[in-house]
């Protein structure tokens, strides 16, 4: 087993303007009130847990009127010094694109754009799996939030193979609610989210999947962050925790309950900055 080559540096956005102000997934209900103090405490708890696991956390300033900016996983995709900002499906989030693009440009990244007509929601809908004997493969979800065709364009922009799987359960609207790579052989997998083709794609890609039951999947178990051998999770079902420990991981539960009200867990609140997807230089 080889630890993930990435996951030691994250971008996060503090929840100063966070709230459930609109409904764009089945978890969001505007009548639900977010407690800003609890949200901030949970967010700081997550950042502290990541730091103590050995990760660095960088912070982007939150902007008014874009409450979901706190979910930095959807900012875009990073590969080395290249950044491809997301094109969001819903108008409510589209203003985030330029905010994140400007941050990455200022940080010295080369910002490359998807075609204007393509929709893709970044690392929320595409996670790398690096098999022992092959190059990194990006597993990309499509249908609820991202276009299948965008996977092709991402492959060209990032110089890596992209396998697009259809997300068929509206409650699992991003691929990061269904998939969490653990190392070069293992990943937490929620088959509830995929169609039969997608399940076969994952079976072919991941030698030792940790299959989640439907209840575990809907509790956001897969929306976890891996730092070396530490798995930072919104919830640790007993069965899943035992399996992770048997494999040598340390599962750590972090309460992100205020964010689950908006349909986001630990992974959604972070964007890994140390991902390198291409084994060769991507197409210019």
């Amino acid at each position: 087993m080889t630890e993930l080559a990435w996951g030691r540096r994250y971008l996060m956005c503090p929840p100063r303007h966070f709230g459930v102000l609109y409904e764009i997934n089945p978890w969001m209900h505007r009548e639900v009130v977010v407690d800003p103090d609890i949200a901030m405490a949970q967010w700081e708890g997550l950042a502290a847990t990541l730091r103590s696991a050995g990760a660095a956390v960088e912070v982007i300033e939150p902007q008014q009127h874009v409450p979901d900016m706190v979910f930095t996983a959807n900012a875009g995709l990073v590969s080395g010094r290249r950044f491809v900002p997301s094109h969001f499906r819903h108008p409510e989030r589209q203003a985030e694109t330029e905010v994140f693009a400007a941050w990455f440009a200022a940080a010295g990244h080369e910002v490359r754009r998807l075609p204007a007509a393509s929709t893709h929601e970044g690392a929320g809908d595409a996670l790398p799996f690096s098999p022992t004997d092959g190059p990194p493969v990006l597993l990309s979800g499509y249908r609820p939030r991202s276009d299948a065709a965008a996977a092709t364009e991402l492959g060209a922009l990032l110089g890596c193979p992209v396998r697009a799987v259809e997300l068929v359960d509206e409650r699992l609207y991003h691929v990061d609610l269904t998939f969490c790579p653990l190392d070069d052989r293992r990943a937490i997998c929620a088959p509830l989210g995929w169609d039969a083709y997608g399940r076969k794609v994952v079976e072919a890609l991941v030698p030792e999947p940790l299959w989640l039951t439907d209840d575990e999947a809907l509790a956001f178990t897969a929306n976890s962050v891996v730092v070396g051998t530490t798995v930072v999770m919104p919830v640790v079902p007993v069965r899943v925790g035992r399996q992770l420990e048997a494999w040598g991981f340390t599962p750590v539960a972090v309460d992100v309950g205020e964010f689950l009200k908006a349909g986001g867990g630990c992974r959604c609140l972070t964007l890994a900055l140390d991902v390198t997807l291409s084994s060769t230089s991507p197409a210019g």
Binding site: A148, V162, A164, Y197
Partner: protein
């Protein structure tokens, strides 16, 4: 039959996207043809598939295309064509779109524009006022050339094989047809093309003369039924040989017997026409007094005589540069509605190469293989009439010009 073309690209094999798309096509009751599949060499390389879909219900096909779009299979033509500027004369950019002979549209600046001169095996060049097919040798540095398949769509002929009211010929090529009825039907198509303001092209092989059909082709030209003639050195030579010497390749066209010294008649004919400088000059000088070439000169019907490596002479009008000959043919096919391929293999195939698929093409030959060859080289619209060409053109001339005219 309603048809659409979709393109799907990326890591479509490992993602099982291609399998899913094809399953959806079959589930929808549609048929598909994989028009092009390029599988990535390694698992890093993207793959590409162009899939032609047919369904007997246009609405169902439309709904299928909508469903396929979700999986990244986009209808060809939903995007502008990609253009690359040619960087040298006579060389198309790599990845150029290779044309078919079907009616074709190209999307430029969000607007579909029809290709003026559909022709197979060419590139597509976009200018401000036109979209044209251009053969490889015709491209010039600076021309904007379409690459890839995006933004290009083709239209299958609206009726089967481009021929309406020709249901009688249900099989493509057969010797087992009542010839008199076929003659009537071909004559009908010639009349219909003329009524529609289209031109009639005849492509003649030397067997037309050998079998006694040349006077009938001459009759058709004289009566104004043929607007363009393509042939080679052989047809023109034997046509004029029969006028001057009464033989075709040394055999009497009236008695069918050999003639003393006849084997050199065609050489002497060519030699004399060369002395005049051109067929037209030989006609004007009164050396040629009848026959198809004579009637063409008299009626001002343009002809192209394409050379081949085994030609005797050749006649002064023969274009021995084959690229120039093909270009001369291209210049004359605009507006042609019916093509009659009369006992010619090489010139029929050459002509088929420059004709749009919408041209009704009748290939008359005693040898069934000629029609097959023509179709195999992309002229799928060709309908075969397997018969002796001499009696056929006699019947056709009687139909169109009146018996004994």
């Amino acid at each position: 039959m309603p048809t659409e073309t979709v393109v799907v690209a990326g890591h479509i094999v490992d993602s099982l996207i291609l399998a899913k798309v094809l399953d959806l096509v079959v589930d929808a009751g549609a048929d598909y043809v994989m028009a092009e599949v390029v599988i990535g060499r390694t698992n890093l390389d993207p793959s590409h598939a162009r899939i032609e879909l047919t369904h007997d219900d246009a609405d169902a096909l439309d709904a299928l295309c909508e469903r396929l779009a979700v999986h990244g299979a986009s209808r060809v033509g939903d995007i502008d064509a990609e253009l690359v500027v040619a960087d040298r004369d006579g060389v198309l950019p790599a990845g150029f779109h290779a044309t078919t002979n079907l009616a074709t549209d190209v999307r430029v600046g969000g607007r579909w524009r029809s290709v003026e001169n559909p022709e197979m095996d060419c590139g597509l060049v976009i200018s401000d006022d036109a979209v044209r097919t251009v053969p490889m040798h015709g491209v010039r540095a600076g021309d904007r050339v379409v690459v890839g398949h995006g933004g290009v769509r083709t239209h299958a002929p609206s009726s089967a094989r481009g021929v309406r009211n020709f249901e009688f010929m249900t099989s493509e090529v057969s010797s087992e047809k009542p010839k008199a009825l076929l003659v009537v039907q071909v004559a009908e198509r010639v009349r219909a093309a003329r009524a529609a303001g289209r031109r009639v092209l005849a492509v003649c092989g030397p067997a037309v003369v050998h079998t006694g059909g040349a006077p009938d082709v001459a009759r058709l030209v004289r009566a104004g039924w043929i607007d363009v003639l393509f042939a080679g050195n052989g047809f023109a030579t034997h046509d004029m040989e029969s006028n001057v010497h009464g033989t075709s390749l040394g055999v009497s066209v009236t008695s069918g017997g050999g003639v003393e010294g006849g084997h050199s008649n065609h050489l002497r004919l060519i030699n004399e026409v060369r002395r005049h400088g051109s067929i037209a000059a030989a006609v004007e000088a009164g050396f040629i007094t009848g026959g198809t070439m004579y009637e063409c000169v008299r009626a001002g019907v343009p002809f192209v005589l394409g050379g081949s490596i085994r030609d005797d002479g050749p006649l002064p009008d023969v274009l021995t540069d084959v690229v120039a000959a093909a270009d001369a043919m291209r210049a004359l096919v605009a507006g042609v509605g019916v093509a009659l391929m009369l006992a010619s293999t090489l010139h029929a195939i050459a002509t088929g190469n420059v004709l749009p698929a919408g041209v009704e093409t009748f290939c008359v030959d005693i040898n069934q293989a000629v029609v097959t060859k023509l179709a195999d080289r992309g002229s799928h619209q060709a309908l075969g009439v397997v018969t002796d060409v001499g009696p056929f053109v006699g019947g056709l001339a009687d139909e169109l010009c009146g018996i004994g005219s």
